[in-house]
């Protein structure tokens, strides 16, 4: 178990999506939208290529928080806003900070970026601290 989250604690997670991450995530999640798994289709509809699933990126934010808490059951809530399109092969960085701890709940504010693109902004996570 990690030390309990405290106000001001930094949270960071880095992950580089490999070429098949969207294929595995499509199978695991059931979201087979071709913009995520079919390069030709993605190019035809004007995208730069296959893009990451937004909910995969949200899962990275969730993972960053539970790993920081050292407890996979600590997450009570997570809200995010989806922004830029995530690309394959480029590092995704989740960064955030615990903004407050009160009444057994730590609140963290986070975002997920890839290069200069914000994939997720205004993420707010509430984690149980014991």
């Amino acid at each position: 178990m990690a030390a309990p989250l405290r106000e001001g604690d930094a949270i960071e997670l880095r992950v580089t999506p490999d070429p098949y991450v969207t294929v595995r995530y499509a199978g695991a999640s059931g979201d087979f939208n071709p913009i995520h798994i079919d390069e030709q289709f993605a190019l035809q509809v004007g995208l730069p290529g296959r893009i990451l699933h937004g909910l995969w990126s949200m899962a990275q934010v969730a993972r960053a928080t539970t790993e920081a808490a050292g407890d996979p059951t600590a997450l009570r809530s997570l809200s995010v806003q989806f922004r830029g399109m995530g690309r394959i092969g480029e590092e995704v960085v989740v960064r955030g900070e615990v903004s407050s701890v009160a009444d057994g709940v730590a609140t963290a504010k986070l975002e997920a970026t890839q290069g200069g693109t914000r994939l997720i902004r205004n993420a707010v996570a509430e984690l149980r601290v014991s």
Partner: protein
């Protein structure tokens, strides 16, 4: 570009509730999902570790909710009564509140409701709410799914 101005916002569909969908959580599905998002937590992957921690089977990661609660969301997006142009649809925001943990072997039933439909600046906003309950009737997770359909500028 579709002109939403010619089509009234289907506000009478706010409050529409869809038939509940039950999902049986499988051990290998939990592992497959955990691997697909890069999880290394033993409680999601190692049956011995999960049982030693007091769980009947593998614990599902919190975001596994998208596996058991997405079916009614997808069904609503294709509901002709909501007049959603799927090609112009963007997932704008997402919120989840977790209560009871989910483990392999659970059956989770999700009910989806249309929470809000509105229009602003050539964009139409659809917000859906899901509530998922386990076999014991306890809520595992509630979700707010916010989508945007691009129309006239």
């Amino acid at each position: 570009m579709p002109d939403f101005g010619a089509v009234p916002v289907p506000v009478d569909k706010i409050g529409k509730r869809y038939a509940p969908v039950t999902y049986a959580v499988g051990r290998e599905k939990v592992r497959e999902y955990a691997h697909s998002v890069g999880e290394t937590e033993p409680l999601y992957l190692d049956l011995g570790a999960a049982r030693a921690a007091g769980y009947a089977d593998l614990l599902a990661p919190p975001m596994f909710v998208v596996v058991y609660a997405s079916a009614p969301f997808i069904a609503a997006l294709f509901d002709p009564e909501l007049e959603i142009d799927f090609a112009r649809l963007v997932h704008g925001a997402q919120e989840f509140h977790w209560e009871q943990p989910v483990v392999a072997g659970d059956e989770v039933t999700t009910t989806l409701t249309v929470k809000q439909i509105s229009e602003r600046a050539g964009l139409r906003f659809y917000t859906f709410e899901t509530v998922s309950v386990n076999d014991c009737g306890a809520t595992t997770c509630s979700g707010t799914w916010s989508t945007i359909v691009r129309g006239v500028q």
